[in-house]
Symmetry: C2
Subunit: 698 residues, 2 copies
């Protein structure tokens, strides 16, 4: 995939320049300095040669055509340069030039135009407004960033060109290898989706790292990310997490779901490891690139100083890793070999005067111990410490079955050791806490890889019936589906809903109440009245026909007084349902990632404690249970102080039915079942109140 | 303070050695290499000179005596070396030698002995088992760590010698200045308290940094830390946070309060800035040492790249800082000076090709803007970027009224800029997020400095009455004070407690019930029965004398059946109290920091959500309110969905009364008032149930 972009044989630089400092010059220089082995063809009508290379007056003069064209001409002539490039045989084009979408409507129109030209000809377009790309394994620096990193297994996509330069500079300083680095610019054509797909299949890429500010398509992103993560780790840092905020919404679910939550749900769903900070992004990537995945979460800590050992143990415990007890054999073996004052518990303290041999003994013991899944090695620079020798010795004894992460703490004294660690593929961190965070990321990914196959249950439902109600509401522009009809829709999807019917006069109301049996509730049905209780539109516990008649008359009186303009469709007569634990099940449709299901305990747990979880639909039975378990208040469902557990499975199944409903009907943009009443295992759960919002179509 | 330890004129090294690599050699070498200007007196009977210095056969041969003695002889001869040092006039002693408390009982006894010798002679002892100390302003490296850092304003105390070496190595690499560095070792005599006091008064110390694994005295620590923090920032990293865990406790309060929570409460109380990681410790210290404190939390971000600007804004928002709107004048001024494509909102984007001048314009505008309290400057290394010149230009235009923190991202390319930043006292961070975290620490400290004076209210109470009950319980070894007597104690401290009395037979029970009025509750009173309900020891809502008689007889029957051995003191007859919002007020006595008060909403909020706050007693009215506001469920107290607020002041006052009670009686080790019933403002709050645990004395 993207072969002509990433592995071209002939590269034209349109706008190549003799003047150092100009972008069109730097790209040519970088291709040369990177030792590109293909043909470099500078294009500029006013030069014969640039940096010793023959310069062509135009694209069509290049013999045998081109694979990739890099365009660095002024904005107004980008379009003809693209057309000429395609004519000259280019199958991929990079537009470095800025001045498109980012400067306003005119630029945006031009950007769409050039993207369409490329698309119609089957040509891949990177940019515009980007830094270019690097492919170390093809010895190609097709960018205006001067650093050419060492070859390595980390491929990077970035939505910020400036960050690419910082990454390259940083990688150079750490002697860290990269595979590909892509500056995506405005993403007029190629975006994260294509590169996730390409890197997933790229044997030179071991880890995919991404810096994103937005994504082009939520659906495609999730598919591509999940497919890639199934093959290799994908680490993404998403900037702009707090900017988007929370959209104005009428449902609880909508008001609790911000864009950041949606990204989090999408990453969890697709196995993407989320980096919380810029440094974490490479901390994690380095671990993934250099070390095998751990089989479990039990970590052995080896240190030549007590304090940093405690730091690592604290951080591990907080991160949910296990600072495991070492196997009995391990302690015995270490006790024989290490000085008496050494600690052979975990952390293993090889003491301040530890030589390389002691570190090796400890690492070998931890590697042999079946109760250890991962090893963190800490060094402080003390009088006898030999950082470089120790690093080499650890590298030599590593059997590559369990990950080893190091933290050599300090500055100049440990620097030779840190260099040896990186040279031998042992990731090194400036503090024990950062080593632990990287190991945590590895464990999270390893456990995602072992997830069961996703099977989404399809329940037999009466889809046609729901469809009729939804269509009718949209036709009459009743985008807020009130309780009565929302419950009709839920009935069609086999939810338990208390028996009830809409009555449009008092005689029918009494007839319905007599039929379903007392006590009943009466609620006004009107597309114009959302907060029914506030204007006397709800009456509960009506025990007789007489009570129904009184309530009906009173309700009509009140509404005539307070909302004389409201359209009235009648009243909803419903059997009073028995109480239970109240939970809320909901959905809101994210602009990027589509339907997001929400679960939480009702009332204050949602409103005050905001103790809710989200998951992108469709969900599996496992994922539904995980949503429940993800809330702090889950313990209340399982029963505290000797109470029986509520019917967890009933809630999980209902979440799956909502998942099916909102997947079947993209017209549903928000819904709340609040409260959903759930009792002990085996009892009947009930959707006691519900509302649905449909998409507005004009 | 500690003048002879930190500023000695004559230093003896007992156990000085000619052999490089030996500790006794390295210390002499380090004193020489550090250019110590006082007299260095090596002591060794078998050498005439060491490293060109005259070597003395013993301490008494040194003419004119000594100020400081550094002892690096084998453990068995440390004690005579101390005695000789004191004889020779030493007023301060450092014992480098290990083999004391850390190796077992015998070592511990020796350590206590040498500490007592020093104490009895008024001599300060540092160590044993330490690295020594450095004082850059006295050109003294009295340690066996070879790096002598530059002079600077950061003084460090560390409980780990190995960490000292890492810190020194790291500071050398960053060209960062230190004032003092103290390796405290086993803290046989001098500990954090003395150094906090000494550094508080040390004009060369601008910031105090501490690495602690434990503290010697909670009380003294809080006093010393608060006094120091009032004068200068104190940043502490506490390791071992998760180890101590939670002690086994019969009260809710006790079971929720771990050692880490106690440290957190102590730090908050005394104005200590807590560093969560090793790196954060110096990130924060650097900011404090180099920049003025911000007057508020509004931050302006200046960047030459969009992505990192977003990162900083995200991090600031998450940290509770304000990414403020710039004043109108600022935008206008910048719009005139910066290129059209620059963003003059916040973050201010000076664009990828920004030269030093553009950075200066932005910094000057932010400095002049009254809606800005602090400035973060970000740079990525792009084609035109001049890191070193930019750093110098920023330093030149800084007016030192608002803090400026920088993040020059990358490696080699930005390194010259980073060096210039540090050289000009501009703190620099490898990522925008770390700059933001440091600014957050500055804001927290600045706001602590502005706290109101602490005034603890003393309520008029009947202390004698409480004392009598407590004494009687301790005398009879009834360390669990049950509900009836716990409520007597609360009455003495003017809590509202429902009227009630202990009755030891059924006739008295009926007489009491008749007097206080029905309905009443009846609860068994027995020092042996803690979980009263479990064995039928609680009956509620008794409406008549007959009901009291039935309940009494049944209760006695049940208890004879189930706990025939239990001692019975009678039954507690109490008027049933009206319901309200249930909260829990509690106290547990931390081993280090003494009484810790707890507040939380009752029931599931404590048991499941663990939504509680702690504060060290005694507390002020302000702090009591802060405890309430610190819970997530505080909104419930203030009233949600149109409910009225409960009586917040009544809860706050009750917390203060508990504070007074547990300060008056150190014998109280744990107590819970659970539930404490509180109604609307002006209604009566009630301590509906209570238990107190007294300290066991044999």
């Amino acid at each position: 995939m993207l072969k002509n972009l990433l592995y071209p044989n002939t590269v034209a630089i349109v706008g190549a320049s003799r003047a150092p400092g100009k972008v069109g010059h730097e790209i040519v220089a970088n291709l040369i300095n990177g030792k590109f082995e293909g043909k470099i063809a500078p294009v500029n009508p006013s030069s014969d040669s640039i940096l010793g290379l023959k310069c062509y007056p135009d694209l069509k003069s290049i013999p045998n055509g081109i694979d990739l064209s890099i365009i660095a001409v002024p904005t107004p002539v980008v379009k003809p340069a693209i057309e000429d490039s395609i004519q000259a045989g280019a199958k991929a084009i990079i537009v470095i030039t800025a001045g498109f979408k980012e400067v306003g409507e005119e630029g945006k129109a031009l950007e769409i135009e050039i993207a369409q030209i490329c698309k119609s000809k089957g040509v891949n377009l990177l940019g515009p407004n980007c830094l270019g790309l690097l492919n170390t394994h093809h010895k190609m620096n097709a960018s205006f960033a001067k650093h050419m990193p060492m070859t390595g297994g980390i491929s990077v996509i970035s939505q910020s060109g400036a960050l690419c330069t910082a990454i390259l500079d940083w990688a150079a300083g750490r002697h860290l290898g990269l595979a590909k680095l892509i500056s995506m610019g405005n993403k007029a054509d190629l975006c994260e989706t294509e590169f996730l797909n390409a890197f997933a299949d790229d044997s030179e890429t071991k880890v995919i790292v991404g810096y994103l500010e937005s994504i082009v398509s939520g659906d495609q992103f999730i598919k591509a990310a999940e497919a890639a993560a199934t093959k290799k780790p994908v680490v993404i840092f998403k900037a702009g997490t707090t900017q988007a905020g929370v959209k104005a919404a009428s449902s609880h679910t909508g008001s609790l779901a911000g864009a950041d939550i949606a990204y989090g749900a999408a990453f969890t769903r697709s196995g993407v490891i989320r980096a919380e900070t810029f440094e974490a992004m490479f901390d994690y990537a380095t671990a993934f690139a250099m070390q095998p995945l751990p089989k479990g979460e039990r970590v052995a800590i080896i240190t030549n100083a007590g304090g940093p050992g405690i730091m690592a143990a604290d951080a591990a415990e907080i991160a949910g890793l296990k600072v495991t007890s070492l196997g009995g054999g391990t302690a015995t073996a270490l006790r024989e070999k290490l000085p008496a004052a050494a600690s052979v518990a975990n952390p293993i303290d090889v003491l301040g005067d530890a030589d390389p041999d002691r570190y090796v003994m400890a690492v070998e013991a931890a590697q042999a111990d079946e109760s250890v899944d991962a090893i963190i090695v800490i060094m402080t620079p003390q009088a006898m410490t030999k950082p470089a020798e120790t690093a080499r010795a650890i590298a030599k004894c590593a059997n590559h079955e369990k990950p080893i992460l190091a933290s050599f703490m300090g500055g100049e004294d440990v620097m030779p050791g840190r260099a040896e660690l990186v040279a031998h593929n042992l990731p090194d961190y400036t503090s024990p806490e950062r080593a632990v965070a990287a190991l945590r990321a590895m464990c999270t990914y390893a456990s995602w890889l072992k997830r069961p196959t996703r099977v989404v249950t399809r329940f037999p439902v009466n889809r046609r019936r729901a469809e009729r109600i939804i269509r009718r509401h949209i036709r009459t522009k009743s985008f807020q589906v009130g309780e009565a009809y929302a419950k009709e829709i839920l009935r069609a999807y086999d939810f338990n809903v208390p028996p009830g019917e809409v009555a449009n006069n008092v005689e029918v109301a009494i007839e319905v109440a007599d039929r379903i049996g007392y006590p009943v509730a009466m609620k006004i049905v009107s597309p114009d009245i959302i907060h029914k209780s506030d204007i006397g539109g709800v009456k509960l516990n009506l025990l007789s026909a007489e009570a129904v008649r009184d309530a009906f008359d009173l309700m009509m009186l009140r509404i005539r007084d307070k909302m004389p303009e409201a359209r009235l469709d009648g009243v909803y007569i419903e059997k009073m349902c028995k109480r239970g634990r109240e939970v809320i099940l909901g959905m809101t449709r994210d602009r990027q990632f589509g339907p997001m299901l929400m679960f939480g305990l009702g009332g204050i747990f949602v409103e005050v404690m905001k103790d809710v979880t989200f998951h992108i639909a469709p969900i599996t039975a496992d994922e539904a249970i995980q949503m429940l378990q993800g809330t702090k208040s889950y313990a209340l469902l399982k029963g505290v102080r000797g109470q029986a557990s509520v019917d967890i499975q009933a809630i999980a199944e209902s979440l799956q039915r909502i998942s099916q409903l909102v997947t079947d009907f993209p017209e549903i943009v928000e819904m709340d079942i609040n409260p959903f009443m759930v009792g002990e295992v085996g009892s009947e759960s009930i959707a006691a109140d519900a509302r649905i919002t449909l998409v507005k179509k004009d």
